[in-house]
C-alpha cells in the first residue's frame, strides 16, 4: 500500500535465475479493498475506496481502478472523493482484515519460521532453508501466491531477491498479482534505472534534496561519492543510501520483532485549545495505552506525547521514567507534565497522542519496592479495572472525568 506508484512496470516473471535469492517480500494487493470486495463481488473492477468518510478521514486502501485516478493511501478522503467521485466508499471494518491477515501469516509460517511481518498485509520471508523441502525461492513464491488466492480469494505480489530491500522493490514493481525475481547478479541493473524516490528511506524531503543535486535515478545516486552524500544528507543517511544504491543491504529477516512502542492518538473533531479538555484526552489516551501495555504483557519506560497544532506543525516530547510502568496514572501524570512543559496551553491543537517507548516484557521486569509503600496501589486498582472490562465490556469502569453524560449528542 505504498503511495509511490511511479515505478515503471516490469514484465511479471518467475523464470529468472533465483540462485542466492532467498528473500521474499510478500505484499497483499490493495489489501483492505480486496477483502471488502469478497463481500461485495459486484464492485469488482470498479473504483472502491476504503476509509472513514468524515471530514478528517484518510484513505486506508483503494482498488487499482481508483488508484488510476490518483487516489492513494494516506490521502485525505475529501481529496480522494474529489479525484474519483464515482468511487464506492466503504468504511473500514478492521476485524475482518485482521482475520485474513492472521490466516495469510499462517500460510507464511508453514513455509518457514523465518517470517518478519512488517504490516498486517506484508512480510519478509527467508526461504533459504526451505529449498530441499519446497523447492527454489521462486517456486515457493509461486506456491504462496497460489495458496493465498485459493484460501482467501485475494491476490498478492511477491518479490524474490538477495536482500530485503531489493525484494521489496521487486514486489512493488510487479504489482498487482505478480511475481518478480531479481537475480543476484542483476541487482545493479535492476536498481539503477529506478527513480531515487523508490529507495527505502527516501521520503519527499530527501528526494527534493537529491533532485537539487541533479540526482534523479538510483544509478545517478550510485555514482555520487559517498562523502558528498554524507555531507548533503548527514553521515548515517548518506552512507546508508549509498550502500542501497549498490544493492547492499545487510539486514536479515528477523522473525517476531517485538513491539517497539505502543501509542494512541486522537484527532479532535474540531481543534481544541482548552487545557482541561486536552488533559482529559491525555487521560483517555493514557488509559488506552496502559490497557494495551497490560494486555500485551509489556511495560514501558519512556512516555512520549505528540501535539499537533492547528497548522499541522507537530512537536513530540518524551521523558524516561526511573522505572518502567504499565499504570495509567503514571503515564498520565508524565504526559500532563510534558504537555505543560511544551508551553502549548491555549494553543489550538488538532491532534494529541500518547506513546510508550522503551518497552520491556512485564514478566521479565522487576520493581524496586520503596519504604512504607502501600501493598496495593494504582497498579492493583487498574488490574481490577481490566478484569471488570473483560467481563462487562469496554467502558464498564473508567475514570470519573471520562464519564460522559448519556445524551452527549444533544450537548449544546
Amino acid at each position: 500500500m505504498s503511495r509511490k506508484q511511479q515505478v515503471p512496470r516490469v514484465a511479471t516473471t518467475g523464470s529468472a535465475d533465483d540462485t542466492g535469492c532467498p528473500i521474499l517480500h510478500v505484499d497483499m494487493d490493495a489489501f483492505y479493498a480486496s477483502v471488502e470486495l469478497l463481500d461485495r463481488p459486484e464492485l469488482a473492477g470498479t473504483p472502491v475506496i476504503i476509509g472513514a468518510a468524515g471530514a478528517r478521514g484518510v484513505v486506508l486502501s483503494a482498488t487499482y481502478e481508483a488508484r488510476r485516478y490518483g487516489v492513494h493511501s494516506a490521502m485525505p478522503m475529501t481529496r480522494a472523493m474529489r479525484l474519483c467521485p464515482q468511487a464506492t466508499i466503504i468504511p473500514p471494518s478492521h476485524g475482518k482484515y485482521s482475520v485474513v491477515s492472521r490466516g495469510v501469516m499462517e500460510i507464511f509460517q508453514t513455509v518457514t519460521p523465518q517470517v518478519e511481518p512488517i504490516a498486517s498485509d506484508e512480510a519478509f520471508l527467508d526461504v533459504g532453508g526451505a529449498r530441499r523441502r519446497l523447492g527454489s525461492p521462486a517456486r515457493v513464491a509461486a506456491m504462496i501466491r497460489a495458496q493465498v488466492a485459493e484460501r482467501f480469494g485475494i491476490t498478492c505480489s511477491v518479490g524474490v531477491a538477495s536482500s530485503k530491500f531489493v525484494a521489496k522493490l521487486a514486489s512493488r514493481q510487479c504489482k498487482p498479482d505478480g511475481l518478480l525475481v531479481v537475480p543476484a547478479d542483476g541487482v545493479v541493473e535492476f536498481l539503477h534505472p529506478l527513480p531515487v524516490g523508490a529507495l527505502w528511506g527516501v521520503g519527499d524531503r530527501t528526494e527534493e534534496a537529491l533532485l537539487r543535486l541533479g540526482i534523479k535515478t538510483v544509478g545517478d545516486l550510485a555514482r555520487v561519492p559517498v562523502a558528498t552524500l554524507r555531507r548533503e544528507l548527514g553521515h548515517a543517511a548518506g552512507g546508508h543510501l549509498s550502500a542501497l544504491a549498490w544493492g547492499r543491504d545487510e539486514r536479515e529477516v528477523t522473525p517476531h520483532v517485538p513491539d517497539k512502542s505502543i501509542g494512541a492518538e486522537e484527532t479532535f473533531a474540531a481543534d481544541v485549545d482548552d487545557p482541561e479538555t486536552i488533559r482529559r484526552e491525555l487521560l483517555r489516551l493514557s488509559e488506552k495505552v496502559a490497557a494495551r501495555l497490560r494486555a500485551g504483557g509489556h511495560i514501558g519506560r519512556t512516555v512520549s506525547v505528540k501535539l499537533r497544532r492547528a497548522d499541522f506543525t507537530t512537536i513530540t516530547r518524551s521523558r524516561t521514567l526511573r522505572e518502567a510502568t504499565d499504570v495509567t496514572q503514571e503515564i498520565y501524570v508524565t504526559a500532563c507534565e510534558l504537555y505543560a512543559a511544551a508551553d502549548l496551553a491555549r494553543v489550538r491543537l488538532r491532534l494529541v497522542g500518547v506513546r510508550m517507548e522503551n518497552l520491556l516484557r512485564a514478566e521479565a521486569s522487576v520493581r524496586q519496592l520503596t519504604l512504607g509503600e502501600r501493598e496495593s496501589g494504582w497498579r492493583e486498582a487498574e488490574r481490577a479495572m481490566d478484569r471488570a472490562v473483560a467481563r462487562f465490556g469496554p467502558g464498564a469502569v473508567r475514570p470519573a472525568s471520562l464519564v460522559r453524560p448519556k445524551f452527549d449528542g444533544i450537548d449544546l
Binding site: A362, E363, S365, V366, R367, Q368, L369, T370, L371, G372
Partner: protein
Amino acid sequence: MMFRVDRDVLAEAVAWTARSLPARPSVPVLAGMRLEVTEDQQLKLSGFDYEVSAEVTLDLQTGEPGLVLVSGRLLAEITRALPAQPVDLVVDGAKAVVTCGSARFTLLTMPVEDYPSLPAMPPAAGRVGSDVFASAVGQVAVAAGRDDTLPMLTGVRMEIDGDTVTLAATDRYRLAVRELKWQPDQPEFSAIAMIPGKTLADTAKSLTTGAEVEIALSSAGGTGEGMIGFSSGGRRTTTRLLDPEFPKYRSLLPTEFSAHADLATGPFVEAVKRVALVAERNTPVRLAFRGGEVVLEAGSGDEAQAVEALPAELHGDEINIAFNHQFLLEGLGAIDSDVARLSFTTSTKPAILTGGKPEGDDSAPDYRYLIMPIRLSG
C-alpha cells in the same frame, strides 16, 4: 600582616578549609579564603559558602596581626606543592607574597570588607568520641538520598535524647539507623536536626584529628533556620540545617521476623560482587536461602547469568528474596562486622541487615540497615 608557619601545618589547614569553598561561587568573594592573624599570635583560616562555614585555628611562631582574603583554591594548590620548609606570608599593599625556601608566589588579594561574616558557633551541647562519630555517620550517610529534587531525603536526621544520639537516613529504598552514646552538657538535653548528608559525612571524617568532637546546636529542638556546629582539634565547622521533615521511620522498622540468616561478611561481599557482574544497573541479585546455604543468582534467560552458593546459617523459614546489588553491598560495607545477619519477613517486606551476634545476645543492635527488596514479577 605577616606570619610564619610550618609548611605541613599550613597545607593541612588550608586544604581542610578549602573543602567548604564553593566550586562555583554565587559571589566572587566566596571563592576567597580569609586569613587572620590575631593579637594572641594565632592564625585563623576560614571559608564560607552561605551553607557551610569552616574555620581552623593554628598557633604561630611569629606573626603580625592583620587580615587578608586570597583565592582559596589557588592557595590550597600552592601550599600543597611547597617544599617542606617554613612558609612566610606577607601582605604588601594589594598583594600577598608567599615565600617558602627558594619559591616565591605573589597572590592578588580580594576585598576583605566585602566578605560576609561567618555565622557564630551555636552554643555547645555536648561531646562525642571523634572516631565513633565518624564511623556512625559513615554508616548512616550511605543510605541518604543523592537526588537534590527530594531534599528532605538527602539529609541525616540526628535525634538527641539525653545521652543517646540516633542518626537515621533514607532514600526510600533503604534506611540506616545508628544509635550511639555521647556526653551531653545537660543530662536532659534533647534535640532533632536534619543535617545535609554529604556535608555531615565529610565533616565527621575530617574531624578525627582530635579525640573528641564537640557538637553545638542552635535553637535546640526547634525548627526552621537552625544551625549545627562541630569542632575538634582547632577546627570548627557550621552548617545550615534542612527542614526537619522526615518519614516516621521507627514504625517502618520491622521488629518481628520469620527468619534470619548469618553469613560471613567478607565471602558474602565477594560473592555478591561476582554475580552482580551480570546484573545491569537497577536489576536484582536474587538470594535463595535454604537450610545451610544461600544461592545467589543474577541475570536472566535472555542475557548473561551468574550463580554462586555460599554457606549460610538459616534460622526460620526458607525464603527467596531479591535486592539491588548496590544497596546490598553498601549495607554490607556499613555493618562493620565479620558476620552479617539478614532478617526477613517475606520477599516483599523490608529486610534488616545487622552485624551478627552470638546466640543468646538479645540486645538490640546499635546499627540497623533496612533494605527494601526488589519484587520479581510472576
